[in-house]
Amino acid sequence: MQLLVQQILDGLAAGAIYGAVALALVLIYRATRIVNFGQGEMATFCAYAAWQLVQWGWPLWLALAATAVFAFVLGIVVFRFVVRPVSGAAVETIVVVTLGLFLLFQALCLWLWGSDQQAFPSVFGSTAWSANGVRLSAATLGTLAAIVAVALALGVLLRFSRLGLALRAAASDRDKSLLVGIRVETMLMFGWGLAAVVGFIAAALVAPRLFLSPLMMAPVLVYALAAATLGGWDSAIGAVIGGLLIGVVESVGATLLTFIGAELRLLIPMAVTLLVLLVRPAGLFDRKVVVRV
């Protein structure tokens, strides 16, 4: 029983990571209808930037705040100069461009900081509690709380605020949005900037646990994509819940189904995602409505 609880907690810890990256992915998708395969690497790059500031003697909170601003600007710049020029092109072209971003940022980190792993300071310190043989660290709890808070904030912003409404409208239909006076370009840029900040937050929360390296986020990408798919690509909270689900299922499943072993851990969340999609093709939280033709 204790083992199960521990597994669940570990799964939640891992799931928080997946959900965090999924959140950034979903945000960009909701804002611009693009899946940015380079999201994780951009976030890693920002995490490195924050780490560098700390190395230069900046206090942690200041480094994080400054990097958050930097991340926002980076998101806008990437959108303005890389994504917008191809925004009218076919889906595959955009896929290759975001893959190019993936390679570009990964290589950038590798070039600037080398491939060695670095320790990243944790915002929550290293306290941990044990009760009944079950261990829970402050970092895990803090990460979970932070991710859920960000997801809720984003969800509220997108669903209930005028800005969120304009963001969603701009993503949904460009011409119609222009006719109501929405500055579509500005909205799209804002969406990317915001998603970059969310990605950075995810990386900063996750780096203490995974250790900062240029390849840190790459394995997470698949899980994050699965989590976003599970959540339906339409809901911020759905992405996080999807991530948590996948984390828990992977953790518990790997122990229960011992024949799977360490190598095939990914199989479990994939199988779960596939099953869910076969039953509910739109994902768990999708709110798509049938439109009259």
Partner: protein, 343 residues
């Protein structure tokens, strides 16, 4: 998206010319380059399969590398375990991979573009792990090595050239198959599936069969390419089939132009040679330059390299036979309308 086409006669002439040149290349190129070109051909076959699935059937499948691996390992295992003649393993590799393709195509029937992409991406990621897991068959991390097929006595070519020619022959077969598929009813059905499935179904197109066929043929091609790859290297190991391989094939397809048969070659050449060149340029910045190249390419050539070539060709043509078009503002106004203008 309109398929990129040249006039049929020009296209046939170009293809024959290209084929002859390609067959003669080993005479002038150093051995290692010939082998690399052979590898490019193996990729080109896999890319061609992806073009079929992505460009013509509109199915976003990112597991092409997994099919590639399936074909490669099938070949290797057949040669080493069952003593099958290496050349004979190629069609077998294609057949086995086609079965795998259909197996994946079945659940894919219910999934939309994005979900299919993600799911197949997951398959691509898990492939090396699966290879490691079933190490009884695959020899896990150590991989399988074997004797490459030797050139027959009556052909006075080196071993590398023979392998290259095998690849070339396989490629030609695939191109012919592809052309036949696209020309007939299947081609129309595929395009209907890509452009508007709803209308296609109402016109009587059996979407399920067309989709599964597309998966089957596409994966058969990838399996064949994998088999050729295995023969060329005379060695397979999980390292060669990481998730990056699927991405590579995808990039090759898109950079080449996904509705172009010729584009498959161009894309294969791009992914085989460009990363090497950029790494040579600067070991540290290699990855950076490659990523930037990729992005720049897409910004400049949306329909891929094939589209770029066609644009240049048509620009040349129009320069040769240009007639000056009349100035728009000087164009005569249309005849006075029936209604009189009232002040």
């Amino acid at each position: 998206m309109n398929p990129i086409t040249l006039s049929t006669r020009l296209s046939t002439r170009l293809s024959l010319l290209a084929l002859v040149l390609a067959a003669l290349l080993p005479l002038v190129l150093p051995k290692f380059l010939v082998l690399q070109l052979g590898v490019a051909l193996a990729f080109a076959i896999a890319i061609l399969g992806l073009n079929l699935l992505l460009g013509f059937a509109g199915q976003v499948c990112l597991a092409q590398g997994a099919f590639f691996a399936c074909g490669a390992y099938t070949s290797a295992i057949l040669v080493t375990r069952f003593g099958v003649d290496p050349l004979l393993t190629l069609p077998l590799a294609a057949a086995v991979t086609a079965c795998m393709g259909v197996a994946i195509g079945l659940p894919a029937l219910r999934l939309g573009g994005l979900q299919l992409a993600i799911l197949t991406f997951g398959i691509a990621v898990i492939t090396p792990q699966l290879i490691l897991k079933f190490d009884g068959l695959t020899h896990g991390v150590t991989g399988i090595s074997f004797e490459p097929p030797r050139p027959p006595g009556w052909l006075p070519v080196g071993a590398d050239t023979w392998l290259y020619l095998i690849g070339l022959a396989a490629m030609v077969i695939c191109v012919l198959v592809m052309q036949r598929l696209l020309a007939g009813d299947t081609g129309r059905a595929l395009r209907a599936l890509r452009d508007d499935p709803l209308i296609a179904r109402s016109l009587g197109v059996n979407l399920t069969r067309v989709r599964l066929s597309a998966f089957a043929v596409s994966s058969a091609f990838a399996g064949l390419g994998g088999g050729v790859y295995a023969l060329l290297n005379a060695y397979v190991s999980p390292q060669s089939f990481l998730a990056g391989r699927s991405i590579e094939i995808l990039i090759g397809a898109i950079v080449g132009g996904i509705t172009s048969i010729g584009g498959a070659f161009l894309g294969a050449l791009f992914v085989v040679f460009v990363p090497e060149w950029t790494a040579d340029l600067s070991p540290a910045l290699g990855g950076l330059i490659y990523g930037a190249c990729l992005i720049a390419m897409m910004l400049l050539a949306r329909d891929g390299l094939a589209g770029l070539c066609l644009q240049m060709l048509s620009a040349l043509k129009s320069r040769q036979s240009r007639i000056r078009s009349p100035n728009r503002t000087a164009a005569p106004r249309p005849a006075a309308p029936a209604l009189t203008k009232s002040e």
